[in-house]
């Protein structure tokens, strides 16, 4: 297993796309911090990068990588290895390399300019988001045999999580405006890892305190250590569930 992980990591880290991705993140983060006059404003600009670019690159890159390694997977399957091991080690390799890319690209600048609890949360959620979207990509590839379809599905999933879901939330809000929706909103936010990460980071930035009652409700829940534990648990299950499901599918898949 370790061998496969190591192979995947070195293979990906040598990949041009990942190098460019890392470089882009690095340049973007440094420029954001040096352009803005105060660092917390820089963090807010960085927030957009984390919430939009990181999931997109994660999911698309993972999908394409998986389709490109179909032959490699077939080769591995012919060896005396469990399918579970192959699939999980591929996932670990991909997740590790994407996390490393993110950590170098965003983590280092953040640690230089904002080495505090906020920056730490930001790095952590960024890494978790990278892994979550790799996991979702695995789900897409195991479901779709066709490469074009698979990539299309990945893009749709990204669009759903970063845009359509929020639109849906807005729609629900308008429909049920007469009801107290603060608590259902919290429940709803767990259905989207991007929303959950955004709220976690924003609460650290303490803008919520300015937002009156609604902000206070959110802060009351996500600001406490139980809320924090809960949201990290939810994020974790966003990794575990797709991985578990795709592993099960892969076990019985006709290659």
């Amino acid at each position: 297993m370790n061998k496969i992980i190591k192979y995947v990591i070195t293979d990906i880290l040598r990949n041009k796309i990942v190098v460019i991705y890392t470089g882009f993140l690095l340049v973007a983060s440094f420029s954001v911090f040096s352009l803005e006059d105060n660092n917390s404003k820089g963090l807010l600009s960085l927030l957009n990068i984390i919430l939009i670019v990181v999931p997109l690159v994660s999911i698309i890159f993972s999908t394409i990588y998986m389709y490109n390694s179909v032959e490699f997977i077939e080769l591995l399957v012919s060896q005396p290895l469990k399918r579970r091991t192959i699939w999980l080690s591929l996932f670990m390799g991909l997740a590790c390399s994407l996390s490393i890319a993110f950590f170098i690209g965003v983590g280092i600048p953040v640690l230089i300019y904002q080495a505090n609890w906020i920056g730490f949360t930001m790095i952590l959620t960024g890494i978790i988001l990278s892994i979550i979207f790799a996991a979702i990509a695995f789900l897409a590839t195991v479901k779709m045999r066709d490469k074009a379809k698979g990539i299309g599905a990945a893009i749709m999933l990204w669009l759903y999580f970063s845009l359509l879901f929020d639109g849906l939330v807005l729609f629900l809000l308008f429909q049920f405006a007469d009801y107290p929706l603060e608590k259902p909103m919290i429940a709803l936010s767990t259905l989207n890892p991007i929303d959950l990460s955004r709220i976690l980071i924003l609460l650290q930035l303490d803008v919520s305190a300015m937002m009156g009652y609604t902000g206070a409700v959110f802060k009351d829940f996500f600001g406490t250590s139980t809320g924090l534990m809960f949201s990290f648990f939810v994020l974790l299950s966003w990794i575990l569930l797709p991985v578990w499901y795709s592993t099960r599918k892969f076990n019985s898949k006709d290659l």
Binding site: K41, D166, V169, R198
Partner: protein
């Protein structure tokens, strides 16, 4: 502004005090003096006398001053109201109360028991006192030309019902409230039916309800005050011709908290005020002809909530920096004017280099309209979709009021 009149009154008071001193006796009160308590000294005193009170604790019950005297504490003597009495009641003109520490007044909503209460009097000066754990602090009931200066008021109440106002003025003319610090009361400073008065250099913080509460008081001015962390900020209602200069409004947080609430206000003028970290810095409802100039709005949730019921409000040369939302409103009717303000969210350009942006700035964003209507939408704060909505709305305004715009936004800070 009546500045000359104030100066004249001030000298009048000073002169009157000195005049009395010249022709009057001084009576000493203290443990080793003939007068062991203040009450007997007041009985002996005649108009114009000075009573000097040495340090110590005095249980005078309710001390009534019904002569024009100077009552001065030396070494901060303590007057204890034993949680039953109103501590000092002033019922004469030309009284000066200076240098006492008043503690534990009674609590009664029926009688509004206070630390010091002035009844129907003129030219009363209350200064350099410390009031702790009083129900109402200093209460002026129908006073004219009174000065409340350099007092420190601190209450420890938790509930609104169990606490009175710090400096409470009900009906008055030409009052001066200067350099006091007030905390823990219901309202820090309360004005009702008070005319031609000045509130200057006071600090009002951590009060349960309002830092400053104004009702039906016309032609007043407040300058250089600090209002911090009050339950609902500052509230100015049903008053005309109020002037506010260089006040600081900090950290008034909460859904119903405002840096300042302007309700049914006409002909006001605000200049040089600082609003920092409030949920909403200014909330205006039914405000007419208010002129706001050179104020700074920094890091507020909403810098300005201006309801459609406001008419002829003019905002110019203000700085809007780092606010989550610049302006919020509840309708599409706009009868107010924004000009030459600096907005840090402005993304326009300045081709002719006159430091004024060439395209207008619209301070009301689509998302702020949505949040105004559906507060739980706050959960989408800074999400991709709201940014997208704002951008499309900027290009094709449909929901946000068409006329609410700054046609000449500044490229750099206005001052």
């Amino acid at each position: 502004m009546g500045g000359h009149a104030e100066v004249r009154y001030f000298f009048l008071i000073i002169c009157s005090i000195f005049n009395y001193n010249a022709s009057a006796n001084t009576i000493y009160v203290g443990a080793k003096r003939t007068h062991k308590n203040i009450r007997s000294a007041i009985i002996e005193a005649t108009n114009g006398d000075t009573i000097l009170v040495g340090s110590g604790i005095y249980n005078e019950q309710n001390l009534i001053i019904n002569k024009s005297i100077v009552l001065k504490g030396i070494g901060l003597p303590i007057l204890d109201g034993e949680r039953k009495y109103e501590i000092i009641s002033v019922k004469a003109n030309h009284v000066l109360v200076d240098g006492f520490k008043l503690i534990h007044s009674g609590i009664s909503s029926l009688e509004d028991l206070s630390g010091i209460k002035v009844y129907d009097s003129q030219y009363v000066v209350i200064r350099n006192n410390i009031l702790e754990d009083t129900f109402f602090g200093i209460y002026i009931q129908n006073g004219m030309n009174c000065i409340i200066e350099n007092n420190r008021l601190k209450a420890i109440s938790i509930e609104e019902q169990q606490s009175g106002n710090g400096i409470h003025c009900w009906k008055g003319d030409s009052l001066r409230i200067i350099g006091n610090s007030i905390s823990g009361h219901r309202d820090g400073i309360y004005f009702e039916f008070v005319k031609n008065s000045v509130i200057w250099r006071n600090i009002s913080k951590n009060n349960i309800r309002y830092g400053l509460h104004f009702m039906f008081s016309n032609d007043d001015m407040y300058v250089n005050n600090v209002f911090r962390n009050n339950g609902s900020g500052v509230s100015v209602m049903y008053s005309n011709r109020i002037k506010m200069f260089s006040n600081y409004f900090y950290e008034n947080w909460g859904d119903a908290a405002h840096g300042i609430l302007l309700k049914e206000i006409s002909d006001g003028y605000m200049e040089g005020n600082y609003f920092t970290k409030n949920t909403s810095a200014i909330f205006m409802e039914g405000a007419n002809r208010i002129h706001m100039k050179r104020n700074v709005f920094e890091n507020n949730g909403w810098a300005l909530k201006i309801q459609a019921s406001c008419v002829d409000v003019v905002l110019e040369y203000n700085n809007f920096i780092g606010n989550t939302f610049d302006v919020g409103t509840n309708g599409s009717l706009v009868l107010n004017q924004f000009k030459n303000n600096y907005w840090d969210k402005y993304e326009g350009y300045d081709l002719n280099k006159d430091k004024i942006g060439d395209i207008p700035y619209r301070p009301v964003s689509m998302y702020s309209m949505i949040v105004e209507k559906y507060p739980p939408a706050m959960i989408l704060f800074r999400s991709f979709i709201t940014t997208l909505l704002d951008k499309t709305e900027k290009i094709l305004p449909s929901l946000t009021p068409e006329n609410l715009k700054d046609s000449s936004p500044m490229m750099n800070k206005a001052f």
